[in-house]
């Protein structure tokens, strides 16, 4: 049973007009439960579009998306996935705890159950003492951890992340990557993760999906042979560098094709 299945999906914006954009063409991707999959590629390769198709925030022009054996639309109604963006997007007027409770409130959970769950989630992201503070009183990394807690509050089987650590400094970023792996391991959550960073993709993922633009499509899927447990030593391991080289070469391939179009703009080598 797959956690997520994208079958021959295409997304074409402004179809039939002069402004037509082939954001995604004939993309297929299957993700197994508990798997961590990263989407990487230059700007305009459709990785965010693919994530939004999975989240049912966009409808595919052709093809189909199923999450948890349901249509993407039904999965969204059932809140079968949680989502985190580059900006933590916490609500300024709600305390940290109330922010985490938001998806539960919308689902109609009663107060005591919500509060218990929010407490559990704060323990999970190791910020229990910040429950009654407001988001703007926290650092960027803390805010992003709260956003992850919010995304996972209803215990969805799938977590969709769109460059969640893109706005963080390097040290915080590496710490957050470790935390994310720990949290997803503890909750056995499946993750689809959009990123610009090659080391980040390799460090986190079981598989890295390399995409290329004009039209947006998947060019290569790279298995990362780093095993299940990853820690700070992983960053010095041979397999880590092998993975980075493999992803870089795959991206170069897309670069060679689109050299004239300046395609790699937006991919950072950090």
């Amino acid at each position: 049973m797959s956690a997520l299945e994208v079958l021959a999906a295409s997304k074409i914006f402004n179809q039939g007009t002069t402004k037509q954009v082939d954001a995604l063409v004939d993309v297929s991707l299957t993700v197994q439960p508990g798997e961590f999959v990263s989407l990487i590629g230059p700007s305009g390769c459709g990785k965010s579009t693919l994530l939004r198709l999975i989240a049912n925030l966009l409808e595919p022009t052709t093809g189909s998306v199923s999450v948890n054996k349901k249509t993407a639309a039904q999965a969204r109604l059932d809140q079968d996935y949680g989502m985190a963006f580059q900006q933590a997007g916490l609500f300024d007027w709600r305390t940290v705890s109330k922010n985490i409770e938001l998806p539960l409130e919308l689902k109609g959970w009663e107060k005591s159950r919500r509060e218990t769950r929010a407490k559990e989630m704060l323990e999970l992201v190791k910020l229990p003492e910040f429950a009654d503070l407001y988001p703007w009183q926290l650092s960027g990394g803390m805010q992003q951890r709260i956003a992850i807690a919010r995304a996972l509050a209803s215990h969805p089987p799938l977590l969709l992340m769109d460059e969640p650590f893109g706005a963080l400094d390097e040290m915080t970023r590496e710490y957050m990557q470790g935390e994310l792996l720990r949290i997803c391991g503890e909750t056995s959550t499946t993750v689809v993760f959009v990123t610009h960073s090659i080391p980040e993709a390799v460090y986190l993922s079981n598989r890295v999906v390399v995409m290329s633009p004009r039209p947006g499509r998947i060019t290569k899927v790279i298995e990362v042979g780093l095993g299940a447990t990853r820690n700070e030593d992983t960053r010095a391991a041979e397999g880590f560098f092998k993975g980075i080289t493999a992803v870089r070469e795959a991206l170069r391939g897309t670069h060679a094709e689109h050299a004239a179009a300046n395609a790699v703009r937006g991919v950072e080598d950090r």
Partner: protein, 291 residues
């Protein structure tokens, strides 16, 4: 923190008042007694005691009877007039807020309504209040809904509403549209209903825009009510007192100023009420947006 801010604001208020008093009295010393011409245009006001009474004579006028031989001191007349107008303004402000927020929600929900309605709302504000006042009174008089009889004071409140609803509608509309796209996408990913998004995201996001709009609306409702009292001849309010006392300006020049100050106090009270709500609503927000 809060106490310091309040102390600072009130000391600034005292300084501002003191400067106006000082300027007024200074002009009375240096200004021409019978007015003056500047480059051939008579522009300088007369500094004599009839046109510009001393501040202390205005203040002492409060302690003297309204009319000669009467027992009622003028301060109590002005106070009850201001209170009368305050109640009308509050009714006008309340109706204006309801209508303004309602229109903003409608306009933000349906783009068609926004496109169709907004130009008319802007146009409505160009209609002179003086022209509108008698119309509202006569329409109100013709209105019959069951046993409901249109009271005369309601016309004044309606004109307050007329000035209050516009800034509130426009400010709220902008505020509702200020919710960031990412937050809207988040609500969509939760499959939140339109109502949930409105109350849990759009309204809270709109508060920093609504507070200044409500302040404008509050002072608008005061102006509407005072002008309506003058132009419809409604008795009992501060607007009526201003017009009555102004007629006695030659014999008793300080008298009209007692009523003018009453109107100013009324306006300050109204915006003070809104400022209070500002302090309460914005207490947990980041400081940048509380200006």
């Amino acid at each position: 923190m809060l106490a310091r801010r309040i102390a600072y604001r009130s000391s600034m208020f005292v300084v501002a008042i003191a400067s106006v008093v000082a300027l007024w009295e200074l002009y009375k010393v240096v200004g021409p007694q019978d007015g003056g011409k500047l480059f051939g245009v008579s522009i300088l006001p007369r500094a004599n005691d009839t046109a510009m009474p001393h501040i202390w004579s205005m203040l002492s006028r409060y302690g003297r009877p309204e009319v000669r031989g009467s027992d009622t001191k003028i301060w109590s007349v002005v106070l009850s007039g201001a209170f009368f107008s305050l109640r009308l303004s509050l009714v006008g402000f309340f109706l204006g807020t309801t209508i303004g927020v309602g229109l903003a929600v409608l306009m933000s929900r349906f783009r068609v309504v926004q496109r169709g309605l907004l130009p008319y709302l802007v146009m409505s504000q160009t209609v002179p209040l003086i022209a509108l006042a008698p119309l509202v009174v006569s329409w109100g008089g013709k209105l019959e809904i069951g046993s409901f009889v249109w009271p005369r004071w309601l016309s004044a409140s309606i004109l307050g509403t007329f000035l209050a609803f516009f800034p509130i509608a426009v400010g709220t509309l902008r505020g509702l549209a200020s919710a960031p796209a990412a937050a809207l996408e988040l609500m969509e990913s939760y499959a939140a209903s339109w109502k949930q998004t409105l109350f849990k995201l759009k309204f809270p996001a709109a508060v920093p825009y609504m507070v200044p709009a409500l302040k404008l609306g509050a002072s608008g409702s005061v102006i509407g009510v005072v002008v309506a009292e003058i132009s419809t001849g409604l008795k009992g309010g501060i607007g009526r007192l201003i017009i009555e006392y102004a007629r006695e300006a030659t014999g008793d020049p300080a008298k009209v100023f007692t009523a003018v100050f009453g109107a100013a106090a009324l306006g300050i009270t109204m915006s003070g009420l809104v400022a209070l709500s500002d302090v309460v609503l914005m207490r947990n927000r980041p400081k940048e947006s509380s200006t």
